[in-house]
């Protein structure tokens, strides 16, 4: 990306050099990464299952429609069996995907809303503002997010939106650092100096020039924030201070499943696999996007 934007588009290009858009090149790099491509496909399937959950399942997630068959093992009729309260477990799992993915996405949006402007301003202004932001980030690095999230969750008594807020509060740091690094490296470029010489205000430069040039770290930060938030939600729900029942959450189901697992394995296996596969797919997708969009960020 960097080398392409450095070449001025105003110069006429020789006919022989066929121009490829950066997006196309990024797609080529992404498609060559089989793990990321596979993860993307898996994630799309999970998202489709979550969106069309009411069409796929005949019962609602909290309907105790099969009380007489409570704790039944998986069968052709109930793919993942029945849970202890007589609910179809497959239905619970796909509705759990809605909660998990919904929280992951909302928290990532929230991280972006906080991290993007702060990171861009810190990178562009430098000096005291940058110093203050970096000190705040240092505070976040000293307190383990999960422990602080535990405290905050007891403070707010859990609930979906509290978890989104908490996950965003710890997710913005990564976005902020990625954007700050990108903006910092662009600050000294000629086109920024030209804009400054023309009298553009700092806000205009950041908004019109620096942020559009930070699109790839922003996308990467956004996608990588999703699995982190999902993990946080699952961990808090597992400890019973996250999403409250009866809202289906995988972390919570694992907690319940733990008590049954010695005799009814399906109660633990399916939520564990659902959570592991989704988080794994989301992180592999994020890693793949990072490598594809900005090869210079690789390994960071």
């Amino acid at each position: 990306m960097t080398d392409l934007s450095a070449a001025s588009p105003a110069l006429p290009r020789p006919e022989s050099a066929k121009r490829r858009s950066p997006l196309y090149l990024a797609w080529r790099r992404f498609a060559a990464n089989r793990a990321a491509l596979g993860a993307g496909i898996v994630l799309v399937i999970i998202i489709l299952l979550a969106i069309f959950a009411p069409l796929i399942s005949r019962t609602g997630p909290n309907e105790q429609a099969f009380l007489t068959k409570s704790l039944a093992f998986p069968s052709s009729e109930h793919w993942f069996g029945i849970d202890d309260l007589g609910r179809d477990f497959f239905t619970r799992i796909i509705y759990g995907a809605r909660v998990s993915l919904g929280i992951g996405l909302s928290a990532a949006v929230f991280s972006l809303v906080l991290g993007l402007p702060l990171g861009a301003l810190a990178g562009y202004l430098g000096g005291r503002f940058d110093w203050a932001i970096m000190r705040v980030i240092e505070l976040f690095s000293v307190v383990p997010p999960l422990l602080a999230a535990l405290l905050l969750a007891t403070l707010t008594r859990g609930g979906v939106w509290a978890i989104v807020l908490i996950a965003g509060l710890f997710g913005w740091v990564n976005v902020c650092l990625l954007v700050r690094a990108q903006v910092k490296s662009f600050r000294e470029k000629e086109f920024i100096m030209a804009a400054q010489a023309l009298g553009a205000s700092p806000w205009h430069i950041v908004w019109r020039h620096l942020i559009p040039n930070s699109v790839s770290p922003v996308i990467v930060g956004f996608v990588l924030a999703i699995p982190l938030a999902m993990m946080l939600e699952a961990s808090l729900s597992f400890l019973g201070i996250g999403v409250q029942p009866p809202t289906p959450s995988w972390g919570q189901m694992i907690n319940v499943g733990m008590n049954f697992m010695y005799f009814y394995w399906h109660m633990a296996v399916f939520p564990v696999l659902a959570l592991a596969v989704t988080i794994l797919a989301a992180s592999l997708l994020g890693d793949g996007l990072r490598d594809a969009l900005d090869p210079t960020l690789k390994g960071r």
């Binding site: 240092e138 505070l139 535990l150 597992f238 697992m261 394995w265 564990v272 592991a276």
Partner: protein
């Protein structure tokens, strides 16, 4: 160098001060006090007397100063849930299982991870490279409680090889140690691989090869020593990070360690114990980062002699 150490120490102290104030304020913002339980409601005058006895009626800043004064004398107060002992005493016997299991987990996981990462770097794009990357991604993305649950399911429920949980005979330690080892193993597999690759691509390695040194000597004498620095500096913070993992591992495997007390302290609104644990863990993080920074500077001659850090 001395100036660098002093500056780092001061900035860490400042960070710790802010963190301690934030933790203190957060703890007091938690709705509901220790005497608001539903089972045995107390009359208001007795509640007020108890609050006064524990100093909970004073203004916040005074409570903070009194508290921190005690902390510097290793006096964290009395846990509400078991008034017969001190927080310090409770921590003193609770840290043993956490340290034994967590320590063994790190000591087993880290070397395996380093070997795996090295093997991956030396055989790029081979099956072992993919294996190492796969294990690293799995260990770093999948939450500890998912790994723990799977371990119990496979080894205790299906195979009946080990007991599922508990503390006591070493046979019960196997599964929790495996759960603890996952994160260090994955972290080191990833770090060792990228550190080795970084060093292998440096010009000095090309020079050594041109000089005709055997590949074995290049790797063991030069590459390994040069890529050891980042691996050493992440060790301490990772070790402290075990504290976070212990919450889940100990809850799942029913180990009476610090993590288990942390969970019960949150559920029982036990301010003194909760604060003590949070403060100790953040202090440990501060200290481990400080030591890592100093170690990094000491081990890296460019920083040691150049006088400028980072």
């Amino acid at each position: 160098m001395l100036q660098f150490i002093i500056r780092r120490t001061l900035s860490m102290l400042a960070t710790f001060f802010v963190v301690s104030v934030i933790i203190f304020l957060m703890m007091h913002a938690i709705p509901g006090g220790p005497f608001d339980g539903y089972e045995m409601p107390l009359p208001d005058n007795i509640k007020a007397k108890l609050m006064a006895q524990l100093g909970l009626d004073k203004p916040l800043w005074e409570q903070y100063l009194r508290y921190m004064w005690g902390v510097f004398h290793l006096d964290f107060g009395v846990p509400y849930q078991s008034p017969g002992e001190t927080v310090m005493g409770l921590i003193a016997h609770a840290w043993v299982p956490s340290l034994v299991l967590g320590g063994l987990g790190v000591l087993i996981g880290a070397p395996i991870g380093i070997l795996l990462g090295m093997a991956a770097a030396l055989n790029r794009n081979s099956w072992i490279d993919y294996l190492a990357s796969g294990i690293a991604t799995l260990g770093l993305t999948i939450p500890v409680f998912v790994i723990s649950t799977l371990l119990i399911l496979v080894f205790a429920v299906w195979l009946h090889w080990t007991p599922a949980s508990g503390w006591g005979e070493p046979r019960r330690w196997i599964l929790p140690i495996m759960a603890y080892a996952a994160v260090p193993l994955a972290t080191y597999a990833r770090y060792a691989r990228s550190a080795m690759l970084d060093t292998l691509n440096k010009p000095f390695v090309t020079v050594l090869r041109a000089k005709g040194l055997s590949e074995r000597r290049i790797i063991f004498q030069h590459v390994l020593r040069n890529s050891a620095i980042p691996m050493i500096t992440i060790f301490l913070p990772m070790f402290v990070g075990i504290a976070t993992g212990s919450i889940f591992v100990e809850a799942i495997f029913r180990v009476p360690g610090l993590g288990a007390y942390f969970v019960s302290s949150i559920q029982k609104r036990d301010y003194p114990l909760e604060m003590a644990l949070m403060l100790m863990i953040s202090a440990l993080f501060c200290i481990s980062y400080l030591i890592s920074d100093i170690l990094y500077a000491l081990l890296n001659p460019r920083i040691r002699l150049g006088g400028k850090a980072r």
